[in-house]
Symmetry: C2
Subunit: 379 residues, 2 copies
């Protein structure tokens, strides 16, 4: 198991490096001539807010009102061009444009104003880095697969279930496919889909658009409908540098002994292991390996999204798993992912890999992997 943990942690560690440290050279001094002035409000902006804006090249422009501030810096994550130092104009607005184009897709960011960390009041918030962060979306060339369309839409339900092991009312989100309510006797497989470190149960539907991806795949006949469940992976108390101490044992009890029985009792599920999958992104992938290997009787399909790999020797009984899907972005070591899937296939497993082109440890990678993984499950 060691190998997969280390790979998972490397990916995590990269994503956690503060953006400014990553891109020390980024600054507002640059060749503006190259920037096409077709900026439009980011699609994630709050109602009526003009900024932040994005242009057709993937540059982002920010504008923050803080007349008496002495310093406003935008910190963007991976693929986000790092720190952008804003400049104050005569009206008290701080503006600035990223030093270069950003990767397509979703990026977390925040502002540092006079030494304090705050969110951009122009945009919506997304839970990452253990807090609600600002988010910006660079339109992707293939955004159609998670676009809002006039197709039948499933529902995302918030459910509250009492967790005896933690003594608290926990939250899960449950995606049911469009036909779910009409199909009185039809039962569906379930994918338990975990977020990454610093994120929570909202991530896959807010940042990930998992519901829209499924709606569109189902409308195109590419996927047989299944249910998706997300819950909090209890990863936010894991301290960086001490990740190898994380056993996910508390989470395993919540997931396997409390949430799965709740979902099977409250939704029209197929409740055998061949109709139950577990997958996760980044640290959620690490959780997936830990839980699936300790509880082979629970899940029939495994998925790791930028979250390490399985090796053939980790899985004692080949017949206990019917499919393993491993993916990552092209900017985060795709060779290891492809090799892992090849090794698994050579050992007789049904394994598939996918590499998202031009993306890093971010949500466009995971949206695409979900799109590729969905038709692979429960087959």
């Amino acid at each position: 198991m060691k190998k997969s943990i280390i790979l998972g942690l490397c990916a995590l560690a990269v994503s956690a490096v503060p953006a400014l440290a990553q891109f020390p050279g980024s600054s507002p001094a640059r060749d503006n001539a190259a920037i096409i002035e077709d900026f439009k409000p980011s699609e994630l902006n709050q109602h009526g807010q003009e900024y932040p804006m994005v242009n057709s090249q993937g540059y982002a422009r920010f504008r923050i009102q803080a007349p008496q501030a002495t310093s406003v810096v935008v910190s963007l994550g991976l693929g986000g061009q790092g720190g952008t130092i804003l400049q104050k104009d005569a009206d008290g607005f701080w503006t600035g444009t990223t030093a270069g184009p950003m990767d397509e897709g979703f990026h977390y960011y925040h502002l540092t104003i006079d030494g304090g960390v705050f969110n951009d009041p122009g945009t919506h918030n997304y839970f990452g880095s253990c807090r609600w962060e600002s988010g910006i979306e660079i339109p992707a060339h293939d955004a159609d697969f998670y676009a809002e369309k006039d197709v039948p839409h499933g529902k995302v339900q918030e459910v509250r279930f009492w967790s005896k092991s933690t003594g608290s009312l926990l939250r899960a989100f449950v995606y049911t496919p469009p036909a779910y309510d009409f199909s009185k006797d039809t039962r569906y497989p379930v994918l338990y889909l975990q977020h990454g470190w610093g994120e929570n149960e909202y991530a896959w539907f807010n940042q990930g658009r998992a519901n829209l991806i499924m709606d569109n795949l189902i409308a195109e006949g590419k996927v047989d409908p299944f249910i998706i469940v997300t819950t909090y992976g209890m990863t936010n108390d894991v301290v960086f540098g001490h990740m190898n101490e994380f056993t996910a044992e508390d989470f395993e009890v919540v997931l396997c002994d409390e949430l799965v029985p709740y979902v099977d009792a409250n939704f029209k599920t197929k409740s055998d292991k061949w109709n139950r999958a577990m997958a996760g992104l980044s640290m959620g992938g690490f959780e997936t390996t830990l839980v699936t290997l300790r509880r082979p009787e629970m899940f029939g399909y495994y998925g790791l999204l930028s979250g390490g790999t399985y090796t053939p020797d980790q899985i004692k009984d080949k017949n206990q798993v019917r499919g393993i899907f491993i993916g990552c972005g092209s900017k985060e070591g795709p060779d290891a992912v492809n090799k892992a899937a090849a090794d698994l296939r050579a050992a007789g497993f049904n394994a598939q890999s996918y590499v998202s082109q031009g993306t890093a440890h971010e949500f466009l990678t995971w949206r695409r992997i979900l799109r590729e993984m969905a038709p692979f499950l429960f087959k």
Copy 2:
């Protein structure tokens, strides 16, 4: 109708006055001896955040890191003691305590840092004032009715429905009661419940805890289960000072001709008007009067929560409505609400009023009115 509009607008206008203007005398200079030092993190704080804190008297204490800032002010709404000017300590943290105890319940607030408006990174965000604002909760003496308990819990579902009239995919949240999924052939009444000006479809479940209120009422046998639907009332483009120009006609089409048919087609509803109610808080109450009076065939029960009144002469046919519930907080003109209900009763209507003691134009008022109104509906 004029009268009810004016009353509704008065309530709105009061709530919209900037907090600092409301309480010009509030400042950090006060008699600290009176403050009991039993501060605890607000229950709305983000994971692991210590501040903001509240004490047993209802004081709130804030702490913001912004070492190079020159000014940090907390602006709290009605019942929130107005502006609190924070003071910087040697470590670069700005701290301050409200000038007095705050009303029990939920309060929106934001920070003004060096002249710019930002949210407190310590707490969760709640959509109010047409933006996601910070929120703080002063524990109420009667908080038990919306507490998280080990009782059967309903679900809150996010649904996306295609709106032909607006050409967009709109969002609604649908609360289904605990027994909903198990009761194959049982159908339920539906309450369409609107937010106020500057809020959106999230408000009733996030700030309002409508789902927990219903779960607890149902568990105690005080309410026959029904469905609650919330959607965006299109109120955020209404300009203050021009509210009398708001006709809610676009919203009426979305609600009555798009959302109601969607809900009746996709949920196990009783779809006749005697099993359909409309209610709203503040400007959502204004919408309720406009829509119910123009569409008497659609709704059998009406509810106004700090959102004006009906007069007997507004309703042409007494037999078209089976119940009218009117409520507000004791700090926002309860006489008009009680008189309106008495007038309606004198004219032969089934009308009831309720006044929330010690609260203003805020969510504890509306949580309590929902608790009182729920058993009144569909009877």
